[in-house]
């Protein structure tokens, strides 16, 4: 599973090893629950923003390699939901959205990471909510608290074997 930091601000190269740009944003398709595409900011000031479909992504590691780009993603940007408040069914604030969890093979959105606050997250820890349990409004997000199960941790891999 990958978090937003594994995609955002990474360099994007195409299959000819030419740099396309940096990832600026993620497009989310709420209806199907997966990532619709990536928004890329390219260096040449005259090229418009490019989008990449997830099926064109070859590999995500230190940088992203993509097969081809196109320009037609419509939909929700991750930057619009980031840091939005989450209210539960009683109207109480649960926290803010801090991060998004995406499956790295199918690019399904697994869930969101909710943080109670800058200082409190050190004490209380963060929580994970699933995509199917939330309704997104303009200024806040509503969380339908169906079951009494709280999700707390997940597995995150990172390969580090460089010496500088």
């Amino acid at each position: 599973m990958i978090k937003s930091k594994d995609i955002l601000n990474k360099n994007v190269y195409d299959t000819n090893n030419k740099k396309i740009g940096i990832v600026k944003d993620i497009f989310i398709d709420f209806h199907r629950g997966n990532m619709e595409g990536i928004d890329i900011f390219s260096y040449f000031p005259f090229k418009k923003n490019l989008h990449i479909k997830p099926k064109d992504i070859v590999k995500i590691n230190e940088f992203i390699v993509a097969r081809k780009e196109f320009n037609g993603c419509v939909g929700f940007r991750y930057s619009e939901i980031k840091d939005m408040e989450i209210l539960d069914a009683l109207g109480e604030i649960k926290g803010n959205i801090e991060d998004i969890l995406i499956d790295e093979v199918t690019f399904n959105i697994r869930g969101f990471v909710v943080s109670p606050g800058i200082l409190e997250k050190i004490i209380r820890g963060k929580e994970i909510i699933l995509l199917k349990d939330i309704i997104v409004n303009e200024d806040y997000i509503i969380y339908k608290d169906d079951s009494n199960i709280k999700l707390k941790k997940f597995l995150h891999e990172e390969k580090v074997n460089e010496y500088n």
Binding site: K3, K5, N9, N11, I22, Y43, P45, V113, K121, I122, K126, K153, F154, H156, E158, V160, E162, Y163, N164
Partner: protein
């Protein structure tokens, strides 16, 4: 005895903390430790700035780390020697013109003072005197601190010989030194330290090199503009502009002011031309060049950049302003990575 056995790890941690605190205390109080640590720190910073160039040379020409470092150090020594050999006589010649400029400035100043202000109102003239005092105080303190710093460095003649050598060794053996350094960190925290240092490297490396490249370009283009318009002191002004450009937001403004002033002193039309030229230069550099060259942008909000710059200037003057942004970048990366991996 039982108490010591049960709390052994805690006691060891407390002892270690005390040890670190005594080291820091010694560093602040004891002069010789202070100087030695500073030497090593400065060499480390130089080596860190040169590391991307070394990596580039190693990859491009397929030589090992030893040879690449030698090439870089020799190149820098020769480069500095050459530029001093060429630049210093020219700058010295320009300085001889400074008498004329000073007399012009004093004349202008006296004209302003005598003609309009004193006659118009008491309030205005007293406010003007205060502003004048404050500005001269500020300029004097800035230049004094800068000169102080330079004198402190050149006091230790040893450092001139030692710093290049230590920098060379840091450059050659950086892999081994970092391997040894990681052994200092407790086992459980080692992986996240590697991740943090890798991320710091990514952001800082390109930022520093990008700033240097930008300053060099700005300096050269300023030189061309000044020579084209035949302004006095082209070398001093362009070198000053280039150096000051390392500071993100205030740098270009600080560098442009003396240029515009000296331009205006010659004639108003020349001043306006220079104003337009410098303005265009800053725009090109800021909007087109800077994003391309400093590729991995450090995503720090401009307000925080300004606050960091002010803090840096208050605490360590000009040098503080240059160092404030990299320090801020390091702190931001550490906070973000710890937050990220705390999960």
């Amino acid at each position: 005895m039982n108490i010591i056995k049960t709390n052994k790890s805690k006691i060891i941690k407390i002892l270690l903390c005390l040890l670190i605190i005594t080291f820091i205390f010694l560093y602040i109080k004891n002069e010789s430790i202070h100087k030695t640590v500073n030497l090593v720190l400065v060499s480390f910073i130089f080596a860190y700035i040169l590391k991307p160039i070394r990596n580039f040379l190693m990859k491009r020409f397929n030589i090992n780390s030893n040879k690449a470092s030698i090439v870089i150090m020799l190149g820098i020594v020769i480069g500095i020697a050459l530029s001093l050999y060429i630049l210093i006589p020219k700058m010295y010649k320009e300085l001889s013109n400074i008498e004329v400029i000073f007399s012009k400035v004093v004349n202008l100043y006296e004209n302003i003072e005598q003609s309009s202000i004193k006659k118009k109102s008491e309030l205005f003239s007293s406010g003007y005197e205060q502003i004048k005092d404050r500005i001269s105080e500020f300029l004097v303190s800035m230049s004094l601190s800068l000169i102080n710093n330079i004198m402190k460095i050149s006091e230790n003649l040893i450092s001139f010989a030692v710093i290049p050598v230590i920098t060379y060794y840091f450059l050659t053996d950086s892999k081994n030194i970092s391997k040894r350094f990681y052994l200092l960190i407790p086992l459980k925290r080692r992986r996240i330290s590697k991740i943090i240092i890798r991320d710091i490297d990514k952001l800082l490396g390109s930022y520093i090199l990008g700033q240097f490249l930008l300053s060099a370009i700005v300096g050269i283009v300023t030189l061309i503009i000044l020579l084209f318009f035949d302004v006095k002191f082209p070398l001093w002004l362009s070198v000053f502009n280039g150096i000051v450009n390392i500071i993100p937001y205030f740098g270009p403004i600080i560098g442009a002011i003396p240029i515009i002033l000296i331009g205006f002193l010659d004639s108003t039309s020349k001043g306006i031309y220079i104003l337009i030229g410098v303005f265009i230069l800053q725009q090109i550099e800021g909007n087109i060049l800077a994003p391309r060259i400093t590729s991995d942008s450090t995503n720090i909000h401009p307000v925080i950049v300004i606050i960091l710059l002010i803090l840096g200037q208050q605490s360590a003057g000009f040098l503080g302003m240059i160092l404030a942004i990299p320090l801020g970048v390091i702190i931001k990366v550490i906070y973000e990575d710890i937050n990220y991996y705390l999960f």
